[in-house]
Symmetry: C2
Subunit: 334 residues, 2 copies
Amino acid sequence: MPNKPNVLLVGAGGVGAMASFALEYSGESSVTSVLRSDYAHVVENGFKINSCDYGRGIRYRPSNVVNSIEASKQYGPFDYVVLATKCIPGVSSMIDIIAPAVSKDTAIVLIQNGIGIEDEALFKCPGNVILSGVSMIASSNVKGHIEHSDRDFLSVGYFENVNLTNEHQEKVCKRFVSMYKNDKNQCVFDENVKYSRWRKLVYNAGLNPVCALTEADVGRLEIFGGTDSIIRKAMKEVIAIAKSDGVELSEALMDFMIRSKDPVYYRPSMLVDIDKGNPLEVEVICGNPVRIAKKNGVEAPYLTLIYDLLKVVQGRIMEKRGMLIVPKERQVPK
Amino acid sequence: MPNKPNVLLVGAGGVGAMASFALEYSGESSVTSVLRSDYAHVVENGFKINSCDYGRGIRYRPSNVVNSIEASKQYGPFDYVVLATKCIPGVSSMIDIIAPAVSKDTAIVLIQNGIGIEDEALFKCPGNVILSGVSMIASSNVKGHIEHSDRDFLSVGYFENVNLTNEHQEKVCKRFVSMYKNDKNQCVFDENVKYSRWRKLVYNAGLNPVCALTEADVGRLEIFGGTDSIIRKAMKEVIAIAKSDGVELSEALMDFMIRSKDPVYYRPSMLVDIDKGNPLEVEVICGNPVRIAKKNGVEAPYLTLIYDLLKVVQGRIMEKRGMLIVPKERQVPK
């Protein structure tokens, strides 16, 4: 099977593990999975998956399991390198990390949240196809145990690379869609990546950070008044910024997103990161929209304050993880 | 000593315990202290006080120690009832609680944070003098052990009660000042209560809630960028709202307040409440200024969002304390 597409998958949280499973489900591609904390466990036992799409009690071990990019190279070259990690520029550059596994024909697939996430990849890999994956799954990984509770819906398009023809980028993208899609999940070719990403941001830039800041799930946020007092205002700002960026979103989306996890007391990913003490996706979810608002002269006081508050929380998290050090004696002006 | 003023002191946190000590220090008044969690310990051992004003290792037991307002009545009638509790309308009405100990000649002294805290007292006790105490102390009480680290400065005035003459109110107020003041602390008659309370709010409405929301002390807040990005904007809004309420505050106050705890990594009272899981003084510190802004047509998006976020946090704290119940099944629109 020399022509079976070869995929490197980096990041095996709830999203990454299910992407890996989907890609191998129909046998149309071979996945090498880079794991860190779950490595030994998955080598020995595989993932245990309870899935609303595929069934419960599934054992799944990717074709190859490695614990570093360096080690993955023995299974290359790769047609696709899929990044299903958090996107936290300033904390780590995933593009630099995957570079050794990227050859000139590798397409890089970013299944990540936020706006402006493609800039670094387009800049550092000017000859490669860069794909956008917008995932609407609900899935968590606790020590190799995957709980997948809400249907896998992945929309894949390409971030336009002016050095390549659109025909080529579309072909590479559609090939990925056909590998990913099966009779249990949904995967579609996304003709308008920019629209899809702004659309998802209506959810992410409002509910995600506000739940993180208040440590309330979406249900409690609503009961305690925050959905009406905060979320609708923040979402309106996202819609206005998107418009200034050339993307028209309907205001009806606001209620669609607010109701999208009914009737679950759902904890959005950024709140889960708070629970776990993980760094937050502050810049791609909050920072980039705020910068676009500023550049385009759009008033966004709510998103701006939410961003500024989250940056302080991020500092606290990074200090706790030893990623930055606060001086013992506080330095103050004389 | 039939003319020695008789004081009931409710609330023996860091502020209340030091107020009790100050009032008895020169022997010019007699204090009955109402304690709850520290009652048994203080009856037996007194408070242990380490004070920057009075010295270390002091043992102090108020003249009378009781565990309820009902029990305090045996030591009445009281010339002054001092409230040094948190002010949390909607959670508990302290005016209703102290009512049995208030007679027609009792002055009620509110040593509490916030704006608009006098409304309930003036409404429910229309014949009584209501005093305002603005305290600039730093003092904490951990199980009867008082750490008093920053000088006791108390400014006392009267909330104008139109049913009484100003001469009478001033006399009652100045008597309290003379009882409280001694050679170790500072206590002054406050000619302009409204000014003092708005002035202190420049600190309280900015640093207090933002440190609570981000769980960062004032030093970390500054290092992580929040002092410049958030606090100055919030403080400017407080100054604008104060102006709309007839109080002119200098912008130089902002830096004075920002630097006031240098060089300590200071945790403001609302952050300490978060640490302890206590209800927050949301309404008197954030809610009332926001309502005044709205009434007077002053734009205050930062204070409004901070208030709305804190209300959600308050809901979460109250749920955890069993003060409100969230339905097991989330109620959602059909």
